[in-house]
């Protein structure tokens, strides 16, 4: 695989090509496929060269997709798995080692492609067992059905909800937090259009009034850390905090490739990006826009020409990050392809994978 003349590495180009062909494919799975293609086309003759090749390609993908935490964590796991396979036993020849590494890579792709369905099965069977009474004639819970609260748009959560709708004998109702990114909420609603589910939208400020009326909170994750904490869209930490306060379980649905071996203590340990929708928000507020760089930094000088007696301008800083960190203490369970984990079990699972 040769690099193109415009400076974009070939593996990154391959990855972008895969994404453009299939809009629904997770970026991480596309990265796995691109890296596997690098392995297949690599003209190397030694194990060290093979490792160097895959490491360089992985670094290029990570550098290109550094904003996507799931891609970064997935590629690191992918790389460490392949290196582990190549060093795990003594191979009779280089080709047998290469075949073993390729088999492991394809195994990763196969698992990752079916992750959502397997997580949906795991979560659905657990939730139905836990949140429906053994006596189906009981009128205390079954008449209201299963009540879920969520925020943002996650394909895994969508798969879990669809599975619950089809498998649960009782009706399912979904309470969705509006959040700061309305586009995600709109996408979730459009995906659930044809489903028989009652949907209610509430604002973030009103979550206190509704948290007691749900059975559990279900969210996705951009990244699951070794500590058991998760990184997800802005508002997840607050929702989990309120749910924890009111003894409502918080479930996270995340693929295995989103597991990261870092151990943040709190949100300040994690690099955050400014909210992508911030420039639109500044315009809607009526604050005159400055350069795109100033908008991206979240600072803008404002002057209200209507105010009487305005003497000087002052800053209005709009702080809105795209994601936040939820500590493990607020999370009840994490659903993965291999079952339900407690936050403390994430480290154990990571050791098995690596």
């Amino acid at each position: 695989m040769e690099d193109s003349g415009d400076g974009i590495p070939a593996v990154v180009q391959k990855c972008q090509q895969i994404i453009s062909e299939d809009k629904d494919i997770p970026y991480t799975v596309a990265a796995f496929k691109a890296l596997t293609a690098v392995l297949e086309e690599a003209t190397v003759t030694t194990i060290m060269e093979l490792r160097e090749k895959i490491k360089n390609a992985t670094d290029q993908v990570i550098e290109s997709f550094y904003e996507e935490y799931s891609v970064v964590s997935g590629c690191k796991l992918f790389l460490s798995t392949l290196i582990e396979v190549s060093a795990s036993r003594s191979f009779s020849s280089f080709s047998s080692c290469r075949d073993a590494v390729l088999t492991a890579a394809k195994r990763w792709i196969e698992i990752s492609q079916t992750s959502r369905e397997r997580i949906a099965d795991t979560a659905s069977s657990f939730i139905q067992t836990t949140h429906t009474p053994a006596d189906t004639h009981s009128s205390r819970i079954s008449c209201e059905g299963m009540r879920i609260m969520t925020l943002g748009y996650s394909r895994v959560v969508l798969a879990v909800v669809k599975k619950l709708i089809s498998a649960s004998p009782s009706p399912v109702s979904l309470t969705v937090l509006q959040g700061s990114d309305v586009d995600q909420t709109r996408t979730l609603l459009s995906k659930l259009r044809q489903q028989s589910v009652k949907i209610r939208i509430i604002t973030d400020g009103d979550v206190i009034s509704h948290i007691k009326s749900v059975d559990f909170v279900l969210c996705g994750a951009e990244c699951v850390f070794k500590s058991g904490g998760v990184l997800n869209r802005q508002g997840t930490h607050q929702l989990a905090f309120i749910a924890h306060l009111h003894s409502v379980p918080v479930y996270i649905a995340a693929e295995l490739y989103k597991f990261d071996s870092s151990f943040p203590l709190d949100g300040s340990d994690i690099r955050k990006e400014e909210g992508k929708g911030i420039s639109k928000l500044q315009e809607s507020i009526g604050i005159p826009g400055k350069t795109r760089e100033e908008m991206a930094r979240g600072k803008c000088i404002t002057s209200d020409s209507v105010a009487v007696g305005c003497r000087r301008e002052a800053e209005v800083e709009y702080v809105c990050y795209s994601s936040d960190y939820t500590p493990p203490g607020y999370i009840s369970l994490i659903f993965t392809e291999y079952g339900a984990l407690t936050p403390g079990g994430v480290a154990v699972e990571l050791m098995k994978v690596v």
């Binding site: 925020l151 937090l177 509006q178 959040g179 700061s180 309305v182 909420t185 709109r186 609603l189 259009r193 009652k198 949907i199 209610r200 939208i201 509430i202 604002t203 973030d204 400020g205 009103d206 979550v207 206190i208 009034s209 509704h210 802005q234 508002g235 930490h237 607050q238 929702l239 905090f241 309120i242 306060l245 949100g267 507020i285 009526g286 604050i287 404002t302 002057s303 209200d304 105010a307 007696g309 305005c310 003497r311 000087r312 301008e313 002052a314 800053e315 209005v316 800083e317 709009y318 702080v319 809105c320 990050y321 936040d324």
Partner: protein
């Protein structure tokens, strides 16, 4: 309840005038962004106009008329409990100075003077409460959190902006979907106060830096709980969990002797709830399979509140509210 047709004997040919004025008042009071203090001022002005119009009535007929209007205001705007306060104050004064069947005309000037005094008392408290609240701030640095638009908090911050001995960081939650927090941030910044505006979903992320939370109520209930705008309960819950003092600023006219209201009472009847659709919600809810529920008010229980700064009384704890509550 007095029959409005009987107003013919009270006001002569000005029956339609008083009825029309009242309908205008109702339209104004139903406005979603009208503060309770402004509503009280409008009602006092209306009572003053009523006294002028009912010049040929007796004092008793005036009281019956005003009682009628108060009941109709409460039916139209159920959360304006404070209108009972001004009604009680006015009636107590009237009954203490004149008899029920006296003529209104010679007593009208002192009634109007009383109402004018109530207005000036409220305005004085609106000036004194921020000064009292400033005494609760740290002498060197504070980080203040509030949600939505609050005129008393705004006045307090404007009074502190020229104080060079202390620095105050202001964080305002925008309060979706009304976004009146943005208006507060815009007005404060135009006056020279630097603020940080955050969406409601970020409150838990910034709460660790906050040292004090300031809120303004719609009314203060008998047990020390407050009725306020939706979203404030989220701030109060998070602040209480992190042991941050929650300070309520309120003039005494907002204290009511209504019993504590359950939150469920705010969701029904529909007159308690207004559904405000902003542009983004409007796009989401064009289909009938989606409900949007946006209550306007909420209750914050007394256990979350540290101090209530009351005009004319200073600082009170929620358990001391009975001192100010009208009997």
């Amino acid at each position: 309840m007095i029959d409005l047709a009987a107003l013919m004997t009270l006001t002569g040919d000005k029956r339609e005038e008083i009825d029309g004025k009242f309908e205008e008042i109702l339209v104004t009071l139903r406005k979603s962004n009208l503060s309770p203090i402004r509503a009280i001022e409008i009602i006092i002005i209306f009572f003053t106009d009523t006294i002028d119009i009912c010049s040929r009535a007796t004092v008793g007929e005036l009281m019956d008329l005003i009682r009628n209007f108060i009941h109709r205001i409460i039916v139209a705007c159920p959360t304006l409990y404070v209108v009972f306060n001004i009604g009680h104050l006015f009636f107590d004064y009237i009954t203490s100075v004149v008899e029920y069947d006296c003529s209104l005309s010679p007593n009208a000037p002192r009634f109007k003077a009383f109402l004018k005094k109530q207005r000036s008392t409220i305005r004085t408290e609106m000036e004194s409460i921020p000064i009292e609240a400033i005494s609760m701030l740290n002498t060197t640095h504070d980080t203040i959190l509030t949600i939505g638009y609050s005129s008393l908090v705004k006045r307090m911050l404007l009074k502190t902006k020229d104080d060079k001995t202390r620095t105050i960081d202001v964080i305002i939650a925008e309060r979706a979907p009304f976004y009146d927090g943005r208006r507060m941030a815009s007005e404060l910044s135009a006056s020279g106060v630097s603020v940080t505006l955050i969406p409601d979903c970020c409150i838990a992320n910034v709460i660790k830096r906050v040292t004090k939370i300031f809120l303004e109520p719609v009314c203060v209930l008998m047990d020390g709980s407050i009725l306020t705008y939706a979203g404030a309960d989220l701030v109060a819950t998070i602040g209480h969990t992190y042991k941050i003092p929650i300070i309520v600023l309120s003039p005494h006219i907002l204290f009511t002797n209504s019993p504590s209201i359950k939150v469920s009472h705010l969701t029904a009847p529909p007159s308690f709830v207004t559904i405000k659709r902003d542009e983004s919600l409007e796009k989401l809810t064009r289909d009938s399979y989606v409900d949007v529920l946006v209550p306007k008010y909420t209750i914050i229980k007394h256990k979350f509140i540290s101090t209530i700064v009351v005009g004319g009384y200073g600082k009170l704890s929620p358990s001391q509210v009975f001192i100010v509550t009208p009997k």
